[in-house]
């Protein structure tokens, strides 16, 4: 446990911040979760987390607000898509003014006055709870299935090394549909940033959520992100997770099927290069009947990047007629890249259909040579083959402007490595050109 000195050092550094019974209890439960490691989080991601905690981050203990920088927010707009936009600069949420009759309500609470329980599940949410001063609360009224779209732009921008703690609570009313985009970015300074985020989402009966969790930060940014999603009857959940760029990043997706007949799909895509450490852990808990879950994670790792995937499916005894699938396919594009993949199926009844599979390989050498023989340079050929590899993940994105946006982000990310700048490219992706002209 010694390498977790750094993890707990932040707590020791700011004793004035931890007066009061609530804090004492939270610190205690965090230490418990570190020591017990019931979910294996520390065992699997501990070394990445220890790396994350090495820099000497400052913590905003005095609750200083970070001002909104409109330019930074506008740059992240998606063409043909006009969501309610919330911008979080470091740990300050800037919410738009919404008329009171709207079905959507956004508010920022002090953690001390939050009217709902402040839960924690895995080690990252325990850690987050200790430091998060503010909680963003979003609720969507039920009884109407109009679409609501909300985009949260998480921006890290500071003049020092900084740790930011973000906490979001979302409640989706019965039958309501929400598109929720979380877009993480960092400024281009060489500062070390650490972002801790915990998002807790409740779907009431018949609600549906398309959740886009996009990480497009910098090599000096570390992220520890946990999402807990609870679904009642007849809910539909669709998660698209893109780890396009981050020095060190771990996402946890923990989903409870609390009542019958709900469906969840998680499509995840990771691009790693340099010395990046990128991990995803899923906990899909089937606690009710007729639930369907489908996980599809793809990693493309280059240079000396390391990826980790832990995929847990837990089917309880009551959860009869469950269908749960999981697939993890990886490409190691360089001899120094590494992936560790661990599926975990815990099934406690017989009436289930479950499967999982993991494959790891290189880009097809025969295809690569065929393309080069036709004159396509190696770097471009690699990019095209990689794009082909993740095509199905992107095609699964339901909303067209977002699908285009994701394809563009992935292409931009992949072409970053090849010698071909977008300006000279006439491939069928005008979104790239549109974006670069902005």
């Amino acid at each position: 446990m010694s390498h977790f000195k750094q993890f707990t050092r932040l707590i020791e550094d700011y004793p004035q911040f931890f007066n009061g019974d609530r804090k004492a209890a939270e610190i205690e439960s965090f230490s418990q979760s570190l020591l017990a490691d019931d979910d294996g989080f520390i065992r699997r991601f501990g070394s990445a987390v220890a790396e994350m905690m090495k820099p000497d981050y400052g913590v905003n203990v005095n609750g200083v607000t970070s001002p909104l920088m409109p330019a930074a927010a506008i740059r992240r707009n998606i063409p043909d898509f006009a969501p309610i936009t919330i911008t979080c600069v470091n740990d300050t949420y800037h919410i738009p003014h919404l008329s009171t009759d709207q079905r959507v309500k956004c508010a920022v609470y002090d953690a001390d006055n939050f009217p709902f329980p402040i839960n924690a599940y895995h080690t990252p949410s325990h850690f987050n709870r200790i430091f998060a001063n503010k909680i963003l609360h979003i609720s969507i009224d039920g009884g109407n299935n109009d679409e609501t779209a909300i985009q949260i732009n998480n921006i890290l921008a500071a003049a020092v090394d900084l740790a930011a703690f973000r906490r979001v609570f979302v409640e989706i009313g019965g039958g309501a549909n929400l598109e929720l985009i979380l877009n993480d970015s960092s400024d281009s300074t060489p500062h070390n940033y650490f972002a801790s985020q915990f998002v807790e989402i409740f779907l009431n009966e018949g609600a549906s959520l398309n959740l886009y969790d996009i990480t497009d930060t910098s090599d000096t940014t570390s992220r520890l992100n946990e999402m807990k999603i609870k679904m009642k009857r007849n809910c539909r959940l669709n998660i698209f997770s893109l780890s396009a760029s981050a020095g060190k990043s771990v996402n946890i997706y923990d989903i409870d099927f609390e009542s019958d007949n709900s469906e969840a799909t998680i499509n995840g895509f990771v691009v790693g290069d340099g010395n990046q450490r990128i991990g995803n852990a899923t906990f899909v808990n089937h606690l009710s009947r007729h639930g369907k879950s489908n996980q599809n994670f793809k990693y493309v790792l280059d240079d000396a990047s390391h990826g980790t995937f832990y995929g847990e499916i837990f089917v309880w005894e009551v959860a009869r007629f469950t269908e749960a699938y999981q697939s993890n396919r990886n490409i190691l594009a360089s001899p120094d890249a590494r992936i560790s993949t661990e599926p975990q199926l815990l099934i406690y009844n017989d009436d289930v259909k479950c499967s999982h599979g993991a494959t790891t390989g290189q880009l097809d050498a025969a295809a690569l040579f065929y393309m080069r023989q036709r004159g396509i340079p190696e770097a471009v050929a690699r990019t095209m083959l990689t794009q082909a590899f993740v095509g199905d993940v992107i095609d699964a994105i339901p909303l067209l402007p977002l699908r285009d946006r994701m394809r563009m982000l992935v292409e931009k990310r992949l072409y970053k490595r090849s010698s071909r700048p977008c300006d000279n490219c006439r491939m069928a992706c005008d979104t790239i050109n549109r974006d670069s002209k902005e």
Partner: protein, 259 residues
């Protein structure tokens, strides 16, 4: 007067997985010529095409190859292609998820970039695709699918010649392009190759059968055996082989062809 030399190969030796396959190849090809290379299975015909096009699976151990006056063996495969070298693969590769259109556009634009030209416009590109598809009667549906994915054996070979038509190489190596083609397709593909023939380009036709050479008339026929070109002659050499098989060649060269 002799035409200009396009490709000049001298003493080329190459190996794969530590095993020597090509044991000293000499071959000179001039503009406007058609060379046929024949020889028993496993003699090294495809290896020669792979080495000339720069397949990284093969190692060059000795010798030289000059193409357009440039050292071919030092060039990256993509640059050999830009210089005008094209291989119609014996086994074309399926590339799921990469559309024929994107593939051809990337190939064409990279070549144009190499030659200092602007990328082709979308409408010119589509026009060119349509025009070149007609050369080998390639189904429009195939052009909209992923590269070679689910193509029949014959469709793959047609697709190779379609790509050749798009890229207009100065030297095309056709490695058993006739295999897998039905009688009509063989004629269509061979006529396609002939349409692309000019006084300034050249073709190497690797085949086992005379019937292809009935359509694509070779100026020279070479017999490759155990990594060496053991005989070179005119078109009549293929006819002799067709009649007598390789027995005589094998008898003659097995004795003095030291391993």
């Amino acid at each position: 007067m002799d035409k200009e030399i396009l490709l000049d190969v001298k003493g080329l030796r190459a190996s794969v997985a530590g095993k020597e396959i090509l044991k000293g190849i000499d071959l000179t090809i001039r503009k406007g010529e058609v060379h046929a290379i024949m020889g028993p299975n496993g003699s090294g015909k495809s290896t020669l095409s792979a080495v000339l096009t720069g397949n990284p699976a093969f190692t060059v151990d000795a010798g030289s190859a000059t193409f357009n006056g440039k050292n071919l063996l030092e060039m990256a495969p993509e640059n050999r292609a830009h210089e005008g070298l094209f291989l119609s693969f014996q086994y074309p590769v399926e590339i799921p998820g990469v559309s024929m259109t994107n593939f051809m556009r990337a190939a064409l634009n990279e070549k144009r970039k190499y030659l200092g030209q602007e990328p082709i416009s979308a409408s010119d590109f589509l026009k060119l695709m349509r025009q070149k598809r007609a050369v080998v009667d390639l189904d429009n549906k195939l052009a909209s699918r992923s590269v070679n994915e689910g193509f029949s054996g014959g469709e793959k070979k047609r697709n190779e010649i379609f790509q050749m038509a798009m890229l207009e190489p100065s030297l095309a190596i056709l490695d058993e392009t006739d295999s897998g083609l039905d009688i009509d397709a063989l004629r269509i593909v061979a006529e396609g190759v002939n349409k692309l023939k000019t006084d300034d380009n050249a073709t190497i036709v690797i085949t086992h059968y005379q019937r292809l050479l009935d359509y694509i008339r070779p100026d020279y026929v070479h017999i490759l055996y155990k990594g060496r070109i053991v005989e070179t002659g005119g078109p009549q050499l293929a006819l002799v082989l067709e009649e007598k098989g390789y027995d005589e060649i094998k008898r003659k060269y097995d004795n003095n062809a030291a391993e």
